[in-house]
């Protein structure tokens, strides 16, 4: 699942995860993502989440997902321009598993996902 209010960034992220054989669904903000999740019978394995979005920001989304037992298995990765140490700590404390700062290269993103065990061996070669 790719959650970002920028369609451009959603496309970039979808292209990357498609290379890893993920089928991506997308949402423009946290609330839209929660609404979408409530309709899905199968919980996505991974969510890439922007921080600054209208309606519901990424931190609120992470907090709500972590409070929902059905969504507990989702791997949550913040993908954001919020690069201060204090913000990273907040996101990880709220339940995000990883943190990627924009701008990022495709290779850097795949390396992060590899650290989470989400990349097949050799996918970034």
């Amino acid at each position: 699942m790719v959650i970002d209010d920028s369609r451009a960034m959603r496309m970039i992220l979808k292209r990357i995860v498609a290379k890893l054989n993920f089928e991506a669904v997308e949402a423009g903000d946290g609330q839209e993502a929660l609404d979408l999740l409530s309709t899905m019978t199968e919980v996505p394995e991974l969510a890439l989440i922007d921080w600054n979005m209208p309606n519901m920001n990424g931190l609120e989304f992470v907090t709500k997902v972590r409070a929902e037992p059905r969504l507990r298995e989702m791997t949550l990765v913040m993908v954001t321009t919020e690069s201060e140490q204090s913000q990273i700590v907040r996101a990880l404390a709220a339940g995000a598993h990883e943190y990627v700062i924009k701008p990022f290269t495709e290779g850097a993103m795949i390396e992060k996902l590899a650290l989470l065990g989400l990349v097949p061996t050799g996918a970034n070669s």
Binding site: A8, N52, E84, P103
Partner: protein
């Protein structure tokens, strides 16, 4: 506090280089070439505002052709397929990325707005009570691009 002591033109240049390497020129064949021409014409611009312990704006501006090319590169589209919505979205994200990295270099306690994109010359937008304090000007495949920082001169100006 003057932001010039915190975010230099070299810092802006480094951020822009990262943006180009990540999204606009990942092959490294078409970099942004600095011109130092602060008066080069632009046709579209995108702004994010920073509020909190520092007040001001980060403005990304370019020619329409450069904006179209950026959208094409970002969205993996042919230039003749790129529409205004694509340009607005990509320019907004570019300002957001650079603005977010600028914010990280400012005193703690700043907040970044969502981007505002105007498909009109930068002179069409007026930042009252703000002055340009830093900037980077260059050409990308011969098309003008600028990234500038504007600092509000009034405390509490959220514009």
């Amino acid at each position: 506090m003057s932001v010039e002591t915190v975010v230099t033109e070299d810092d802006l240049a480094e951020m822009v280089e990262q943006v180009w390497a990540s999204y606009l020129d990942p092959e490294g064949v078409s970099p942004l070439i600095p011109t130092a021409d602060a008066d080069q014409p632009t046709e579209v611009h995108s702004t994010v505002s920073i509020t909190g312990t520092w007040h001001g704006h980060l403005v990304y501006a370019s020619s329409m052709q450069a904006a179209r090319k950026a959208a094409g590169a970002f969205l993996a589209m042919e230039l003749d397929e790129v529409g205004q919505e694509d340009i607005s979205d990509v320019l907004g994200e570019l300002a957001n990325i650079v603005g977010g990295n600028v914010k990280a270099m400012l005193p703690a306690g700043c907040f970044l707005s969502l981007p505002t994109v105007v498909l009109a010359p930068q002179t069409a937008s007026y930042y009252p009570a703000a002055e340009r304090i830093s900037g980077l000007w260059g050409v990308w495949d011969g098309e003008p691009i600028s990234i500038s920082m504007w600092q509000s001169t009034k405390t509490g100006d959220n514009a």
